[in-house]
């Protein structure tokens, strides 16, 4: 299956990709292609937009309309694409730094507007590209090259931030949970509105090494061992959930989408100014 997906949707002359051995981003990138493959949409209409970071390099490998923008600005560029041509399906691939640090404002405002973008955050809890500085999702007390004494910041939960800012489809996937993540990705893309999948990735090179989380297989095994499905989580106490990560869909509503609302304004003037 993977093999055909790669053949079909990847720029094979760009391979091997730049991700380090064992980097979860490679798996997640493939998962997106698998999810797209299931969609009944014209693949030529799919745009992939990314910012800057290891994660954001993904767009360069995938054979769609792809744009690798500036750090933090992927969602703002994507907003422009979608507004200018609402017929395009616009997907953002970003990192925890790109989306939640420098790009945090665009993230919450796009969510507020509920514009029809699908955002996949490759969340490795670190700035990978620049060499392991802590990010807004690095857990408190963990280490990064700029947190040599342990991180004193509280970390953002990307899924919660999305939900409370107004996103209308929110879910969490992981590198380990391939099939489930692909399904969530597919649903996120089909959802008409601002949808976010917080994709737990793993950066063995920096986050893993700095925090004694072992090598890539250990980090992925950790995902396997600590994930709880969102449905099941609802039945669990806070205590039971400590140290666990909730995967699956965590929020969904049907608020009207932004470009659809704007279309109604345009429609007033179809056929000339009245």
């Amino acid at each position: 299956m993977t093999h055909e997906i790669i053949e079909k949707y990847f720029r094979k002359d760009m391979m091997p990709h730049i991700f380090c051995p064992g980097c979860g981003h490679g798996v997640l990138m493939k998962d997106i292609a698998c999810a797209i493959d299931k969609l009944d949409v014209d693949k030529d209409k799919i745009c992939l937009v990314s910012g800057i970071g290891c994660s954001s390099r993904a767009t360069g490998y995938m054979d769609f309309n792809t744009i690798h923008t500036t750090h933090g600005r992927a969602i703002a560029v994507a907003t422009g694409i979608k507004m200018a041509n609402p017929e395009l399906m616009v997907i953002v691939i970003t990192g925890d730094g790109d989306a939640a640090a420098i790009g945090g404002n665009h993230f919450i405002h796009a969510a507020r507007r509920n514009i029809d973008l699908t955002v996949f955050v490759f969340n490795n809890n670190i700035y990978g590209m620049t060499g392991g500085q802590f990010s807004p999702t690095t857990p408190t007390d963990d280490y990064g090259t700029t947190a040599p004494y342990g991180n004193i910041d509280q970390d953002f939960d990307i899924a919660d931030l999305a939900k409370y800012s107004g996103a209308t489809f929110v879910a969490r996937g992981s590198v380990y949970h391939v099939d489930k993540t692909i399904r969530l990705m597919e649903r996120a893309m089909l959802h008409k509105g601002f949808s976010v999948v917080d994709c737990m990735s793993n950066c063995p090179t920096y986050y893993g090494r700095k925090n004694h989380k072992g090598k890539a297989p250990d980090m992925i095994r950790w995902q396997k061992d600590n994930a709880v499905d969102s449905k099941k989580a609802e039945t669990m106490t806070d205590e039971e959930l400590t140290g666990k990560i909730i995967i699956g869909e965590t929020h969904h509503d049907n608020r009207e989408e932004y470009t659809a609302k704007y279309q109604k304004i345009k429609d007033r003037f179809v056929g000339g100014i009245k």
């Binding site: 091997p16 064992g22 798996v27």
Partner: protein, 68 residues
């Protein structure tokens, strides 16, 4: 679905030797040697596809049609 018809392929030019496939293979089909994946015993393979799903470099995969 896990059919024995499937054959395991490795593209060593893509493999970065991360060991994920080895770690998650439910059988002892694979190991790492010289920083690349290596098929020790294909006959043990049950075609579960874990290696393919979790390989970040698309270097290992099952194929139903062609033989090795």
């Amino acid at each position: 679905m896990a059919s024995t018809l499937k054959t395991l392929f490795v593209d060593k030019s893509l493999c970065k030797g991360c060991g994920i496939c080895v770690a998650f293979c439910p059988k002892s089909v694979l190991n790492i040697s010289n920083e690349k994946v290596n098929i020790i015993d294909e006959t043990l393979c049950i075609g579960c596809g874990m290696c393919e799903k979790l390989c970040p470099d698309y270097a290992i995969y099952l194929n139903e049609k062609e033989g090795k």
